[in-house]
C-alpha cells in the first residue's frame, strides 16, 4: 500500500531466518530502574499494591522489604523490552509466555540486562512468518538472575517481508 516501505523502519538481522536453535545472545543495552519507571508504570496500569509506590509505609511496616519494590510485571516487561529490538522488532505478534519466575526483588537504582537463548524455531500457521521460542534471562548489576521465562513470538520471514 502507498509509498510506505515498512522494511526500511526495522532491522535486517532479526527475521525468522536469522534464528537458530541453541544460539545465546547478550542484548546490547541495560537500563537502570528509576522511581519514575516503577511508580509511573505501576500507577498507569492501576496496580494498587502500595509496596510499589509508598516509601513511607515500606520503612514503617517492618515487612519482608524496607523500601519500595518494583512491580514484577514491569520486571518481565523491562527484560522483554531490553531483548525486544533483537527478538521482537520484526515480530507480527507476541504469542505468549510461560515458566516465568521472579527470582529476586528489583529496587530503584538497580540495573537490568537481558540475555536470550533460542529454544525452538518452527513453521507458523502462515507462510510469511515462523514461530521462535526464546528463553530470556534478566540479570542485575550484581550478576544475579532476577527474572527468567520463555516467550513465543511470530516473526516475519525475510523471504516475504524483507523487501516490503
Amino acid at each position: 500500500m502507498s509509498a510506505i516501505k515498512t522494511s526500511d523502519w526495522t532491522g535486517n538481522d532479526n527475521y525468522f531466518e536469522d534464528f537458530e536453535t541453541g544460539a545465546v545472545y547478550r542484548h546490547a543495552r541495560g537500563k537502570t530502574i528509576e522511581a519514575i519507571d516503577n511508580v509511573q508504570i505501576t500507577n498507569l496500569v492501576m496496580n494498587t499494591a502500595e509496596g510499589h509506590f509508598n516509601e513511607d509505609i515500606m520503612k514503617k511496616r517492618g515487612g519482608m522489604f524496607d523500601q519500595r519494590i518494583q512491580f514484577g510485571g514491569i520486571n518481565i516487561a523491562m527484560v522483554v523490552g531490553l531483548a525486544a529490538q533483537d527478538t521482537a522488532e520484526n515480530a507480527l505478534a507476541e504469542l505468549g509466555m510461560d515458566k516465568i519466575r521472579l527470582k529476586a526483588p528489583v529496587v530503584h537504582g538497580d540495573t537490568l540486562y537481558a540475555y536470550s537463548q533460542v529454544l525452538a524455531v518452527e513453521d507458523g500457521d502462515r507462510e510469511d512468518a515462523g514461530v521462535v521460542t526464546f528463553h530470556h534471562w534478566g540479570v542485575n548489576q550484581d550478576d544475579k538472575v532476577v527474572f527468567e521465562g520463555e516467550r513465543r513470538v511470530l516473526i516475519k520471514r525475510r523471504s516475504h517481508w524483507g523487501d516490503k
Binding site: 492501576m46 512491580f71 516487561a77 509466555m97
Partner: protein
C-alpha cells in the same frame, strides 16, 4: 529557624477507622471467581509511554502507518501492557494484602488489542497451600482472563503469589 512543617495531627486520627483493602489467604477457596474492578480503555498515551519506557522497539506499538500496513485498524497495544493492565486490575482482590509475586505460567495472547479498546479482568482460584519456607504466608495460584469490550478473551495466564495469612 526551622521551616514550619504544619500542626501535629489531632484527634481525628484517634477516631478514624481504616477503610481497608485487599484479602488474605483464608479468603481464597479453590474455585472462587473474582470479577475485578474498573476496566480500562487503553489509549495511545498509555501505550506509547509504556512501550518507550520499556524500550520495546516494535513499530506496531507506536507507528500508525506501520501498524496499518500490517492489517491493523489502529496502533496495536503492546501485549506486555495488556498483561500488566489486566494484572493491575486484579491486585486489590488478589494480592494487595502483601506477599511477593512469584511467577506466571501458560500466558497466551489470544487476540490483538488496539488503542481505544477496553479490557476487563476476572480470576479463579486454582490452587492454594501454606508455605513451609515463609511463616505467616501461603502460596496461591489464580487463573486470570483479560476480556475486551466485546467479551472476547484477549489474554489468559496463571499467576502464583505468596499471600499473607490473616493476623490472629
Amino acid at each position: 529557624m526551622a521551616a514550619d512543617k504544619g500542626e501535629p495531627v489531632a484527634d481525628f486520627r484517634e477516631q478514624a477507622k481504616l477503610w481497608s483493602k485487599g484479602h488474605t489467604y483464608e479468603d481464597f477457596e479453590v474455585g472462587k471467581v473474582f470479577r475485578h474492578h474498573w476496566g480500562r480503555t487503553i489509549n495511545e498515551g498509555d501505550n506509547s509511554l509504556f512501550t518507550t519506557l520499556t524500550l520495546h522497539f516494535n513499530p506496531l506499538y507506536y507507528n500508525e502507518p506501520y501498524a496499518k500496513a500490517h492489517g491493523h485498524p489502529r496502533v496495536v497495544v503492546n501485549p506486555l501492557l495488556v498483561f500488566n493492565t489486566v494484572f493491575g486490575m486484579t491486585v486489590e482482590d488478589l494480592s494487595e494484602g502483601g506477599g511477593p509475586f512469584l511467577g506466571v505460567d501458560a500466558m497466551t495472547h489470544h487476540l490483538p488489542v488496539h488503542v481505544g479498546d477496553t479490557v476487563f479482568a476476572e480470576s479463579e482460584v486454582v490452587d492454594k497451600r501454606t508455605s513451609e519456607k515463609f511463616a505467616g504466608y501461603g502460596i496461591v495460584t489464580w487463573h486470570t482472563k483479560g476480556l475486551n469490550q466485546d467479551g472476547e478473551m484477549v489474554i489468559d495466564f496463571r499467576r502464583t503469589n505468596l499471600v499473607r495469612l490473616r493476623d490472629e
